[in-house]
């Protein structure tokens, strides 16, 4: 699924963010926030008062108002979805109401450079995106169950990050907000305190921790001192009542001490509401460091089982992400989740005829070439994933 497309543009002098409308919008105020959709020159109603027109195929005659024509790829757009239209005719889908995996990509900058990063950071000044993010939050359907905030490293926006969380709390109080951050800036106690004071009704920060030993974590994230910052950041967040989830990516550098890391988490961060142990996404920087990082998941089941048991024994809530059932130790199946976003999730030709495919997390579409040698179809089993 494509999330952006270039069309032929007219009348757009700055980025215009709006909701998509296939049907006429009754409320005049909401109309001014809406991109009306035209199909093959036909409009559902008079476009006067709308933000503009997005035209699939031939454009209708709408002189003097913003128009993007000859779109083809974004046919899935529907009422309530949110798009941004840049002056050069670039249409970006920011939010799809029908998806369970919406997120705001706050920035592409990062203060770490993880060896396995699937979205390598860019050195560009994108702090001016903040108004667009705030605008997006205003336009998202308040009935949305879950929204992500991700990056890069979203906390690099500092007060801008806090403003985003606060705005989500005000406009989308019923929407669970999940932030992916390395947590390093919460080393600064006051920053954690400010986030806590926002008192967002349903906020979780997903924070990666890759080793119980500072030097190993720092090497994996390529940032000296990161372990100290993240570890103290986790403590500060708990002190100010911000819920945290700990995320561990499984690869050749994190596997050897994985059970010890589990014990370290249970001892030092028993307040974490969730621990996610995640298979590698074979995309981005990982290919550059493949020799250092790759281990066939079939070869780390013993460590994964030991770590999972330590965490479960301690009463912690554990999930396994990006794992395929045919590789996973049968005892770990109850912890496996289908975690890959719908539009990134695929299965392989080898999976054809597998009896448990509907319970299996499958693969990232972004990279399926390098995978466990143990991938194979399984016979159907009476097992059902827990709800």
């Amino acid at each position: 699924m494509r999330l952006h497309e270039n069309g032929r543009v007219a009348g757009v002098d700055r980025t215009l963010v709006g909701r998509v409308a296939r049907r006429p919008v009754a409320d005049a105020g909401a109309r001014a926030d809406s991109w009306l959709i035209a199909e093959e020159g036909a409009l559902p109603c008079d476009p006067a008062g709308y933000l503009g027109v997005l035209a699939f195929g031939e454009p209708p005659a709408v002189p003097g108002m913003p128009l993007v024509a000859r779109l083809r790829q974004l046919a899935y757009l529907d009422d309530g979805d949110v798009v941004a239209v840049d002056p050069n005719g670039f249409v970006r889908t920011l939010y799809r109401r029908a998806s369970n995996h919406n997120f705001i990509l706050v920035t592409e900058q990062c203060n770490s450079l993880c060896l396995m990063c699937s979205q390598p950071p860019k050195q560009l000044d994108d702090f001016d995106r903040l108004p667009e993010h705030l605008r997006l939050i205003d336009l998202i359907d308040p009935a949305t169950a879950e929204l992500g905030i991700t990056g890069g490293e979203p906390t690099l926006f500092r007060d801008g990050f806090l403003a985003l969380v606060a705005r989500c709390g005000e406009r989308l109080p019923a929407t669970a907000l999940h932030v992916l951050t390395n947590g390093r800036l919460f080393f600064y106690r006051r920053f954690a305190e400010k986030l806590g004071r926002i008192a967002h009704p349903d906020l979780v920060l997903g924070i990666p921790l890759y080793s119980d030993v500072d030097s190993q974590h720092d090497w994996i994230v390529q940032a000296p001192g990161a372990f100290e910052e993240t570890v103290l950041g986790l403590q500060h967040l708990d002190r100010y009542g911000v819920r945290v989830e700990i995320r561990v990516v499984l690869h050749a550098l994190s596997i050897p001490r994985l059970p010890r890391l589990a014990a370290f988490i249970a001892r030092n961060f028993p307040f974490a509401c969730h621990v996610a142990l995640m298979g590698l996404e074979m995309f981005g920087l990982v290919h550059k460091h493949l020799d250092e990082l790759w281990i066939d998941p079939a070869h780390y089941q013993r460590e994964l089982l030991a770590a999972s048991e330590i965490l479960c024994d301690a009463g912690m809530n554990v999930s396994l992400y990006n794992q395929q059932l045919c590789v996973l130790d049968r005892r770990l199946w109850p912890l496996a989740r289908k975690s890959i976003s719908d539009w990134k999730n695929v299965y392989l030709p080898e999976c054809n005829g597998c009896g448990v495919m509907s319970d299996c997390g499958g693969f990232f579409a972004s990279g399926t070439k390098i995978r466990s040698a143990a991938i194979r179809p399984l016979a159907g089993l009476p097992y059902r994933a827990p709800p």
Partner: protein, 481 residues
């Protein structure tokens, strides 16, 4: 910074080959004797597994990073957090009378004289006033005796007035009635149900053991407790009634039968308690008593049976082991007034006697019944909250019970998991501070902790069972053999 430096820890030569190291916050690690020597001489190679293990568990540090100190500080605060909130458990002796005449019992009287041995309405009210002066956010009020149901009017008063007061002040209060159940009737049950009261009873084992330990007219204690236990569970709910056992000389020969009795009665916990050296218990030591060694032998056998039962799929927690394991294996604090540092006497729990005297602990009250009222903090009618809880008696007791400062405890590897009991040591030796090498308290706790560590190391099934006790959650069916 080159090389590494040590963080505070204590150690024990655990067996011929291994040394146990335990840090100030109760995390532990087993080292070979050779590694231990290299560790303390600061000769461990920084890339060795053992170096990394000790670093991650905060036994050493090798940089200027704040992380190890901040994490240790948080864990230390967490471990001592039982001190927050001050006195939360308030015991009311509503009557000293009892219709049982147990050999080991501590100070009750078989008597019909209500005026002499029952708590009055005014005394109860003043005691409640004091209980609600406590800054603890959650109060637990335990009504005991004697047999508290012999003075049910007082039980009713305390539960009603205490409940109303908690509601008025927006505080949480929980009521527990410690009763032998023999006199329980439908009116009482209806009241307990309405006011959400918990019951705690005594069950010493199968009929022969229980009735021998707990004589009453008609010799029917067992039949009554079993019948009324069933009725109480029907009315109040299964989990609203807990039971305790006390081991006598007779009990020692019936470890497995006692455990099986708890299983048969559907309990999910059993507390293997030794006799305490007070009251009638001390006087009858020849018939009911035994050495610490004999008790520990019983404890080991009973625990083995409990593990066996758990392994067969029945969830049964041994409460003392659960308490110690929680301290050994988790970062969490456990308040247990008889085993913490400083001790919980007065600052964790307090006793209001039937006559209005206030004691630092139940043991202090028993000692007074034997003629030594050293740990009497005062009286509800004469003394203020400040005098009772800030006075010299309690201050002395607390100061003497900081295990970190007790010779023999201060350098014991098990210190972070253990505690002090100054009243017990005073009662048995005349000194608040124990002489550790000859202390039965030390002998019992040192042995049990060491035994639990050995069991935890022994096999996977035991480990899973121990963790299920800590979580208070039965093992999933597939985890049971």
């Amino acid at each position: 910074m080159s090389g590494y430096r040590l963080l505070p820890f204590r150690f024990l030569r655990f067996d011929g080959a291994r040394t146990l190291v335990v840090n100030e916050t109760g995390e532990y690690h087993f080292l070979t004797n050779g590694d231990f020597a290299r560790f303390t001489r600061r000769e461990l190679p920084p890339d060795s597994e053992v170096f990394l293990d000790l670093k991650a568990k905060h036994f050493l540090f090798d940089s200027g990073s704040l992380a190890p100190f901040e994490l240790l500080a948080t864990k230390y605060r967490t471990r001592k957090s039982f001190l927050e909130g001050f006195t939360s458990l308030h015991l009311f002796v509503v009557s000293l009378r009892c219709e049982h005449s147990c050999h080991y019992c501590q100070v009750s009287r078989v008597s019909a004289d209500r005026t002499r041995y029952d708590m009055t309405e005014e005394t109860a009210r003043r005691a409640l006033d004091l209980a609600f002066r406590s800054p603890a956010p959650h109060l637990k009020i335990e009504l005991q005796g004697g047999e508290p149901l012999l003075n049910f009017e007082r039980v009713r008063q305390i539960v009603l007035e205490g409940g109303a007061r908690a509601a008025r002040e927006g505080r949480q209060v929980e009521f527990v009635v410690t009763t032998n159940l023999a006199l329980l009737d439908e009116e009482m049950l209806a009241f307990f149900r309405e006011r959400d009261v918990f019951l705690s009873t005594s069950l010493d084992g199968p009929e022969a053991v229980h009735n021998a330990n707990r004589p009453r007219p008609g010799n029917d204690s067992y039949a009554r407790v079993v019948a009324n236990l069933g009725r109480a569970r029907e009315v109040l709910g299964h989990d609203r009634v807990a039971a305790l056992m006390t081991a006598t000389r007779l009990s020692l020969q019936h470890a497995a039968e006692i455990v099986d009795e708890y299983v048969a009665r559907g309990f999910s916990s059993i507390f293997l308690r030794p006799l305490s050296p007070y009251g009638f218990a001390l006087r009858t030591v020849r018939t009911t008593g035994y050495s610490t060694r004999e008790f520990l032998d019983f404890y080991v056998r009973a625990l083995e049976r409990i593990l066996e039962v758990n392994g067969q799929g029945t969830f049964l927690v041994e409460t003392y082991a659960q308490l110690l394991l929680t301290r050994m294996l988790t970062p969490f604090a456990t308040g247990y007034v008889d085993l913490q540092s400083p001790a919980g006497a007065g600052i964790g729990a307090v006793v209001y006697n039937y006559d209005g005297d206030v004691y630092a602990s139940d043991e202090s009250r028993m000692l007074a019944e034997m003629g030594d009222s050293r740990f009497r903090l005062g009286n509800v009618h004469r003394d203020s909250y400040q005098d009772l809880f800030g006075g010299a008696t309690l201050r002395t007791l607390v100061a003497a019970s900081v295990a970190e400062s007790i010779p023999g405890c201060a350098d014991c590897a098990f210190l972070p998991w253990c505690g002090a009991d100054p009243v017990h040591h005073y009662a048995t030796t005349g000194d608040l501070v124990p002489h550790v090498p000859t202390s039965d308290f030390h002998e019992r706790n040192f042995f049990i902790i060491r035994h639990l560590l050995s069991l935890y190391e022994r096999d996977e099934t035991t480990r899973r069972i121990f963790w299920s006790w800590i979580r208070e959650e039965p093992l999933a069916r597939e985890e049971v053999a």
